[in-house]
Symmetry: C2
Subunit: 645 residues, 2 copies
């Protein structure tokens, strides 16, 4: 049974205080952080290990050797500031903060839990200086902080870590140009050049060329070095202190997964047939135990060589050995999408599929393998991807563009709009839609995408309830739609397979009744929220209240006649958006009701994700937002009771 | 009295057919295009001359010497494709298309008129291959077209023109990396390197360094040459034909305003005290006549030297000599904003103002001159600007971020969102809001911005009615607001100065009655639409219908008690959005009405800009969308009559 163990802060203090070789000390501390990061990711059930491990030595060097932050404290105006632009390397980062006593234990051991730390950095966590998670923004943000320091007359520099894949993002190069021109020289960038992005080598996805030279072309002082060599790192940062006439960048050569032999890039690529599997996700029990043993053994060997007592650690939790997990048995709409896509690819030679380094998560590997000449892997460059799709569409192809909703609808919003003015047809697939999963945090939970695309006059938005409806929806988008389409898909395994009526026909503007009733009608969409409203229906039935549950996959096109008919005599209409209350299905149904005397007489109530989304487990996030079945049942009853009064 | 003259296509045919030196011929044709571009901009009353003139010789070279497009025709699948990524150089581009018979005369002479050609390229215009107007997208779009050609087995290459200032946009560098990696070698980029952006030299705004070297380091074959030397241009493009293993770029050194002596960059900068005034806007009558005479004299001199008859041209229109224009007398909310900003800058040392190369249009020059150390000119890099603002805010400053709404709310949407998750306060000013002016077209008319920012839980959106309310709104945002703010400002002179009540207090969630009535109530905002609804009120009064007109500057915060009170007994509530019908004030008032029994009983009607916005004069655009006073009066009466039935 896998045990989650913590190397407690006392052990870090013991090693820090020991009279041993300085660089050996840093190596030990870094490995102890590795062990903690590994355990916390295992406990969380997810997290980004590969990048945490590749960047960890650099972060240790910065906090233990280079920056004044630990000494001055996190509130001091003259402190050096560090943050990671890529953001997902938080397991390693939190481990370093914990080791210095900057992050409390309770927060550290609760990675991706409500009240703990988030899967991407949030400034509510001690030690986190900026929010990140969507790539490419960090150097710009660092520039603002560095300018502020100068304007305030405060000391300290700003250190920001980027990934190498991250340099595919255009904003990086925007910021390199402006930082250099604006002479914001108290910035130091470290590129964690671990050569692998989500699951493939960077140079295979989009080759970045000679990075040191590029940075120099852009007006920076650039050095290259080994990101795992503490002596070298220290030397480079010392040299940087003497460079005051331009901003500084270290291209640090690192190994993704460094410190766990089977996670290290070259080995892992071999084992994975060219694919890297340790970018995100918790290792299974066997891999976890092997990794833990390997690091612990190495630490204890080095402690012994240094004449120090072996490591003690604290048992945090014993996990039951998991035999099956939801993801092994449940359906996944993304898989249904991927299969339907490949099928359509056979019949429609005009389909071209585009991706931005998320092919596995977006279910595209099947299509990619079958039709490599019609698959464009664009790397971490969503704006370029969307405009490329526009060019393809102008030339008669049918592009199907994929990314997470937070990135696609927001980062590439203007590009989508510009395409839409050209009168072509493009299908945009917004993956990872909605509140769940909530562990990665607000940079990844897509709760604005319907509102971001809703004002486009020629775009239809659809979110299917299950695998069957996913295939129907994609087929409709490809074969029937005359306009642009946005297909919205959750990324998780479905909590239950939503049962659609037999002979269900996928009709524009019409949904279907999942559960009959006349007490009130609730409209919802997608496997996550439909599961909750069906639960609510079951709970309400026990109380003698018959809730009608309607699946409405058409988010911005409503057949008013159908809407009237399906509402029946229910005097209260509820709408549940897996989205902000602003601009989702709720607003669309509300607007549709204006044109019907019958519907305008009903009372209209919106449920949605209000405020910023909570970070935590699915249950924690749903409960926080009062969108779990139990809370929904209670809220519905409250409204209906108040209505009667 | 200024005369608008057209060099007719017969003259181009005459010169093309003449047996004269080839390069002389191209010079003549280019100058004849210059003359036409000048005249059409004057006729339109606006347009981008500086860039049209700098790029024109290159466009002539491409269409007359290099590309097969004119020969094969605009529909041929093997044709070479050209388009301009910057887009605003359409006056020159349309002139070349016209000269080749590709663009009909009626379209060409109606620049920025409804049914004519748009101020930025639209694919509805013959010869326009892609829509542009917002910078940085063109190389990506060209990539899509070029990939499509290869996939279809079609011949021809894709030529795309960019500006040099445009290379400050991050998407450019995204696309350079992906084009090179994806080996899309049938692309040729020409950078119109005219050294000046909106009104200042590029190297002063954000220095781009050694462009040729940068392109090479990004994997391109790059050449540098004189963009006004036809022989050199031809040679370079011929050399490019032999480069097949990488994409090609020509950094073309050009002169902004080339061909009109006082518009040429170096001279104009001298004359303008360091500011360039010919980027956009029609020259006044004297300047126009001088420019026309200069080009015509040069053409006739060259015709004479070549033994050809002088130029004949066709009188299109005689313009009345304008003594005053609306802009000379009317108030401008932007000016009020700029003054208020500078005043607040004195009292609030924490204010930092940011701009993205639009300082004059955004009214920021006054603040910039008073507080140069708190003004950040960020160049054409909105994403970087917004994230920089985020960093400043994290360090305790109050950033006030400016750009056109289309760019700020859309291009930098994800950066605004990320900032909003950090709990800081930033003020975003979306200039150029709404339908008017309509000449530049859909890339500039901002009709989605409220919807793009509306789902952010901690952002207040305000659009003031007049200069007074603009100052009040800005002061409120700076001194009172606890959340982020979006201040929405039209860019035009106000058609009338909206008269606010005496003792008007600027209260969150509350507007004010501009015209009393009990027939129906209409809520609107901003000087453009308020002018139209007041006109409607005046017209309806003549018909015995008393329309209540309410200014509601709070776009997403409604005081429901005030809303109830001001609605009074009006059974019909109208809302007019200077925006899409989706996500604007209409939807916010509709949602607010749900919580009031009194308001839910009313009938709710939304007016807004539906579909894509029309391009044309203000009167043409308003009439097209039925949002002018006359149409509004009619639509209101129709609704009220139907209601009674």
């Amino acid at each position: 049974m896998p045990e989650i163990r913590l190397v407690p802060i006392q052990e870090f203090q013991r090693v820090s205080a020991a009279g041993i070789d300085y660089y050996r000390k840093l190596e030990l501390i870094a490995d102890m952080c590795r062990l903690n990061a590994l355990n916390m990711v295992k406990r969380a059930g997810s997290g980004h290990l590969g990048s945490s491990l590749s960047s960890l030595d650099i972060v240790v060097a910065l906090y233990y050797s280079v920056m004044n932050t630990a000494k001055l404290g996190l509130e001091h105006p003259d402190r050096d500031i560090y943050f990671s632009s890529k953001g997902h390397d938080v397991p390693g980062f939190y481990a370093v903060l914990y080791s210095l006593g900057l992050l409390p234990k309770e927060k550290f051991i609760n990675l991706r839990r409500f009240g703990g730390t988030c899967g991407h950095p949030d400034v509510g966590t001690p030690g986190v200086e900026a929010n990140s998670g969507s790539l490419g923004m960090g150097i710009s943000k660092a520039k603002g902080m560095a300018i502020a320091k100068k304007m305030s007359g405060h000391g300290g520099g700003v250190f920001v870590m980027t990934g190498d894949g991250e340099l595919q993002e255009g904003q990086i190069w925007e910021s390199l140009q402006t930082v250099a021109h604006q002479k914001v020289n108290n910035i130091q960038v470290i590129v964690d050049c671990n050569k692998i992005q989500t699951d493939r080598p960077v140079k295979e996805v989009i080759n970045l060329g000679d990075l040191q030279r590029k940075f120099e072309d852009f007006g920076w002082h650039a050095a290259r070095g080994d990101g795992h060599d503490f002596a070298q790192l220290e030397k480079i940062f010392r040299e940087f202190e003497n460079v005051t006439d331009r901003p500084k960048a270290l291209i640090a050569d690192t190994v993704k997964g460094k410190g766990i032999s089977f996670m290290e890039g070259p080995q892992a690529l071999k084992d994975g047939g060219g694919l890297y599997r340790w970018h995100s996700g918790a290792p299974d029990d066997d891999a976890f135990e092997a990794a833990h043993a390997e690091i612990a053994e190495r630490i204890n060997r080095k402690l012994g060589e240094a004449g120090l007592e072996p490591l003690t650690n604290e048992l945090i939790e014993t996990r039951g050995r998991r035999t099956t997990r939801l993801k092994d048995t449940a359906e996944k709409v993304v898989d249904a999408y991927g299969e339907a896509l490949a099928k359509l690819g056979e019949k429609r030679p005009d389909i071209v599929v585009l991706d931005a380094d998320l092919a596995a998560d977006c279910g595209l590997r099947f299509f990619e393998a079958k039709f490599p000449d019609r698959f464009i892997e664009n790397g971490i460059a969503e704006q370029d991807m969307v405009s490329t799709a526009g060019g393809l569409a102008l030339q008669g192809f049918l592009p199907i563009v994929n990314s997470f909703g937070v990135f696609l609808a927001s980062r590439a919003n203007e590009q989508i709009y510009t395409n839409s003015t050209e009168g072509t047809k493009i299908i945009y697939v917004c993956h990872y839609a909605g509140l769940i999963p909530a562990g990665p945090g607000q940079s990844h939970q897509s709760l604005r995408d319907i509102s971001l695309l809703g004002a486009m006059p020629n775009l239809v938005a659809i979110e299917p309830a299950n695998a069957t409806e996913t295939a129907l929806a994609l087929e409709w988008c490809v074969n029937e739609a005359k306009e642009n389409c946005m297909l919205r898909l959750v990324i998780s395994p479905s909590p239950r397979t939503i049962a659609l009526p037999a002979n269900y026909k996928f009709e524009p503007g019409q949904g279907c009744v999942l559960r009959n009733g006349n007490g009130a009608a609730i409209f919802a969409y997608g496997p996550v929220m439909l599961n909750e409203v069906l639960l609510a229906g079951e709970l309400l039935a026990e109380k003698g209240f018959a809730l009608k549950v309607v699946n409405m996959p058409w988010l911005n096109r409503v057949d008013v006649a159908w809407f009237e008919a399906v509402t029946g005599d229910c005097s209260n209409i509820f709408v549940l958006d897996d989205h902000s209350p602003y601009g989702g299905l709720g607003d669309n149904l509300l607007n549709a009701s204006l044109s019907s005397v019958k519907l305008r007489a009903r009372k209209f109530h919106k449920f949605a994700v209000e405020g910023f989304p909570a970070c935590g487990t699915p249950a924690e996030a749903l409960a926080y937002h009062r969108l779990d079945g139990e809370n929904l049942a209670e809220r519905i009853l409250d409204v209906v009771k108040a209505d009667k009064e």
